[in-house]
Symmetry: C2
Subunit: 655 residues, 2 copies
């Protein structure tokens, strides 16, 4: 049987299974899947170098399905070739047709959209929220480059999906970093969910945009097997010479079954008579295009090159004090003031030397976040990746780097991290080892005003501390170091943990509160002052305002306890014991909108039925610019005097 006919036969076989599995599930996207039958067949059965029994083998080419809803076609191929499936830490087994038919069932590893953590490690990251896959592919390519692995990353993107700006952030990133191992394949089937795709995302316009960004484009009929093969080979050959090549495939949604090609078929399984009709049409198409029984001897899966996975070197890192002295900052150390953002930058540089898997991502603020200490270190600079002003791409590149075995730190202003919340959540769902560092957090940056202040960020990230990821850990840790020792140490601590962390550092220089002897742990907190009248619980910059308040309170005869709650989640039992020792009086102070520390404490206090009084001081207005941090603190009612007054009010003490 010719290659042409064999691909048709196999594609139709996969199309049929896509129809059957979505019918069994009662939902899903068979018509999108059918637009990809030939491309997936040529890729997975003939072009890609990979091994179904070891889907994550280090030299294996990878497939990122950015338009995750088309996943039945990939599941069909994986069931056909018996790809290994299984959850992390459990023994794998070959996927069967029965697995495919369990699509979307509660106990199935074959989830509604791609998700490696549910037991389908063929995929590197969860997709399904659109526009993120090409960035993930870029991250995988960066990791492969770092490990000198010769593998290619194929990424299938929908035409409607190509409206997402992140796709074009990724294209710019790939061109700028000359990631010629990434092959974007745009699947132009001309139908979105609710309508035809815009002319702005026609095959021709997408091709023009790619060319404008600096990619060569091969446009093919996505149902013409030799044309697909030739395009992939051309992309591979030109890519080997560092040319950037994208494929724009013109396809038919519901290919092969005329009854499924009209609008209105997006995301709908064919069932009953409609299923029978579609199956019949596909069989007729097959009879027309293939002269003999299906046979796959015209192609064979190409195995990957044999090669061990890259190792990871982890050495002990020096203490903050030693690191300062090592980089000739002994006098600064002696002066006793340093910003947490700069301590993070220093910690990251030290960590970079100690841990070969650490990579750093920036969004054109490296001189503000101090990741430039890493970037400008010649031994580390190859692991620093400038993402420019494109936070969405940065986060998904981080997810890709993590899937490639790296420990990515992404840093920008906390406010601009917001831009990537959807990508970060998809990273958490993917089990990504992503470290997110937000600088200029809260309101202490003052002068730039609210467009640069992070205010609901603690509430959002805290939500992930209330649930567990696939490994049984909090979906995310929220870390708020209050001084340089804490920021430096927590930078290291994050790397020792596999999972997502958000560390919030701030702009101003502040006094040291700790020393090299202090141990910081995920889930820990520190009691800075032990009192008995009330607990002031706070974190980050606000620890310093509260410290000042403690002096005023002391003069008024109030003996307050000060807790630096630098981690969420935290040891609630231990905290409530302290609160009980302080008359059950808790004052929480934070430099963000509500739903953060205060709510975390309120949640803890109400779970047991004991009476606590929790007063929450947080930002209760949209802040504006002020020239100094003190002014903005006063404006928001969070200066030391306001904290003192509130504490006194709680206790009925006159100041």
């Amino acid at each position: 049987m010719s290659f042409d006919a064999a691909v048709h036969a196999k594609a139709i076989e996969l199309d049929l299974l896509s129809l059957d599995m979505t019918a069994a599930a009662g939902s899903g996207h068979p018509s999108s899947a059918m637009s990809l039958g030939h491309i997936v067949t040529v890729l997975m059965y003939s072009h890609m170098r990979w091994a179904p029994e070891h889907p994550t083998y280090p030299t294996s080419d990878r497939l990122v399905l950015s338009e995750g809803h088309a996943v039945p076609i990939v599941y069909a191929a994986c069931a056909d070739v018996g790809v290994t499936i299984g959850r992390e830490g459990e023994p794998g087994r070959p996927m069967t047709r029965e697995d495919a038919m369990s699509l979307r069932a509660a106990d199935s590893m074959i989830d509604g959209h791609p998700n490696p953590m549910e037991g389908f490690p063929f995929f590197d990251a969860a997709t399904g929220s659109l526009g993120q896959g090409l960035s993930v592919a870029a991250g995988l390519a960066l990791a492969a480059r770092a490990d000198d692995l010769d593998k290619r990353i194929y990424c299938i993107i929908g035409d409607g999906e190509a409206r997402e700006g992140q796709v074009w952030e990724a294209v710019d990133f790939i061109v700028e970093h000359r990631l010629s191992t990434v092959v974007p394949i745009f699947n132009c089937n001309r139908y979105g969910q609710s309508d035809q795709v815009s002319g702005q995302q026609s095959a021709a316009t997408i091709a023009r945009k790619l060319e404008a960004a600096g990619m060569a484009v091969i446009t093919v009929d996505g149902h013409d097997p030799p044309a697909i093969r030739s395009a992939l080979e051309s992309a591979r050959d030109r890519g080997a010479e560092r040319a950037l090549v994208a494929i724009v495939a013109e396809t038919v949604k519901g290919w092969g079954a005329a009854s499924m090609q009209a609008g209105g078929w997006h995301g709908k399984p064919a069932t009953g008579e409609k299923l029978e009709k579609a199956r019949r049409e596909l069989m007729e198409t097959r009879a027309r295009l293939t002269s003999a029984l299906a046979s796959t001897d015209a192609f064979a899966i190409r195995p990957p090159e044999e090669r061990a996975a890259a190792g990871r070197r982890i050495d002990e890192a020096p203490s903050f004090g030693d690191a300062m002295r090592q980089y000739d900052m002994a006098s600064t150390l002696a002066a006793g003031r340093f910003s947490t953002r700069r301590a993070f930058g220093l910690g990251l540089r030290i960590l970079g030397h100690a841990n070969s898997s650490v990579h750093v991502l920036d969004a054109d603020v490296k001189n503000s976040t101090f990741t430039d200490l890493f970037a400008s270190d010649r031994e580390l600079s190859s692991r620093f990746h400038e993402c420019r002003i494109a936070e969405q791409n940065m986060a998904s590149v981080g997810v890709g780097l993590s899937a490639g075995g790296k420990t990515p730190y992404m840093a920008t202003f906390s406010k601009f991290v917001t831009r990537a919340y959807d990508q970060i959540e998809m990273g958490i769902n993917s089990g990504a080892d992503l470290k997110i560092v937000g600088s200029h957090s809260g309101i202490s940056l003052a002068a730039d005003g609210p467009s640069q202040m992070s205010l609901p960020d603690v509430a959002w990230f805290r939500s992930f501390t209330t649930m567990k990821d696939h490994r049984g850990n909090p979906g995310c840790y929220v870390l708020q170091p209050s001084d340089a020792y804490a920021a430096y140490a927590l930078t290291q601590v994050m790397a020792e943990y596999q999972g997502c962390c958000y560390m919030r550092v701030f702009r101003p220089d502040v006094e040291f509160l700790y020393d090299d002897g202090t141990v910081f742990n995920l889930g820990g907190f520190e009691t800075l002052t032990q009192g008995r009248d009330l607990v002031i619980a706070t974190a980050g910059y606000m620890v310093h305002e509260c410290n000042k308040a403690l002096e005023h309170l002391d003069k008024a005869g109030v003996d307050a306890t000060l807790v630096d709650l630098y981690s969420l989640p935290f040891d609630e039992e231990k905290f409530l014991d302290i609160a009980n020792d302080n008359g059950g009086n808790i004052l929480v102070v934070e430099d963000n909108y509500g739903g953060g520390l205060g709510s975390a404490i309120a949640d803890a206090c109400t779970s047991g039925g004991d009476a606590f009084t929790v007063r929450q001081m947080h930002v209760r207005r949209i802040p504006k610019s002020a020239r100094t941090t003190d002014e903005v603190m006063a404006m928001c009612g969070l200066d030391a005097m306001s904290i003192t007054a509130e504490a006194a009010r709680m206790l009925g003490v006159r100041l």
Copy 2:
């Protein structure tokens, strides 16, 4: 004096003031400002039709400064011409040089980044988080088109900023909707914050990308006054013939002062000797380029056409029952089941007829959110704007529509709203009247899995219920209707309120709980069942699971109260009274991660020092696909039996 020399003289005057005001502030971005001196001068003093004394006059051309950090140059011009400043509802007055010199002061209306709500109504929206302005401009243009106002919207975008994918979402939107009144001006000064701008954002590449997307491009020297004037005139003339024209301006960061043109000057004021040197250099540049004393008789501000603002027609809307009958759904009404998303769609259609200011934005899911009921109504379709799969642009277009006097409803899956959180927060800061409707909320959509489920969304939006916007209202209301009557009614209620709301509707059809007699209010809640043993507080889909639990509990002799907490914030005092009548026992049930309803209640319970027991049931794992809603509820421990068991456990009752 020639036009050329006059523009140079004025631009240098504005540059000098930009230097002085940032020096006074001790922070800011003078070098970015100086790259725009000539463009802003030609625009504001000669080309735009506008009136400094009425900066929001309906026919006035508008200027959106997307690269908000460059704002000193616009402030300088506004101080020079005496633009009216003043906070909403207060009498305005002309801006002075002293105002400019108060830049970033705590009591100044001249904020660090553009913000109309701080007293600078010349701007339509807050900018400063990059990449959003062109979308705002598109929204302003849509509003102007709807009101048949002949005005043009100029938008200045930085070259580094053009890496943000949202800029290209906006370009696609403008081309697709043929918004030829929008003139994007790319300010290519070649320096970002931490580095030179990428070649992917060079003037030539930006021009190629714009052309690929379907815009004509005029590239100019941004410091050549006649060239700028000619480009603007050409853009105006060709725009009048519906051509889409963008201007790419090659500029110099720190123009006119050689000492400020090196890297490292981003976001830094010149002070002391450096300020003197920069001033001196600018004066020398002026002497070289202008042969005489400054004179502005070569140009004059062009006033806008006289015209009254468009009116707004608001009629009474029929009840849900009447609306159903009106659209021939009496039998569905009688059947007693309907989804909240569909009731929202119906409510929106009815509202569209009753309120002429309502516009609707979709991101290619109109057949899932049921905004297609609005889109396909011929009397309404001109107020429906398809944004395709580009949520960031959709949200900022909404901010622009609001600034143009409209009431925009944007709708997509709640999960995908996440994509636009940064834009939504900037909208809240802008005082935008934005109604955000998320469909397929929580986990009840089941089969598609977590990539389509909204889980930390209630926590994020709730954070805005803990603070106040510039009008003294909550930054956002969070609404979770539990049945079709509630969804329909709240769709109308949102329009009656000026500010941001997030309404969360869900996928499954559910039974009616209310009727046309029920009144729903922002801040309200409903007691569905009055008991005395414990309060079950919930909202949205979970009301139905809790209702089932109530039956089981009743059989076990537990007399539970059921509260539908459909709004956040809510009347805390009234709720705590009910809790006290139920022994202080509260069970909160929600279909999202923590930090939502449960924390809102915990916050309320702990503020007074009384003892309450609050048990929170919420999603505590990353969900996966299941074929039915019941299965996913059981998987997450949120089915009626789990709720029943938890309630019994709280009370020590054996089932």
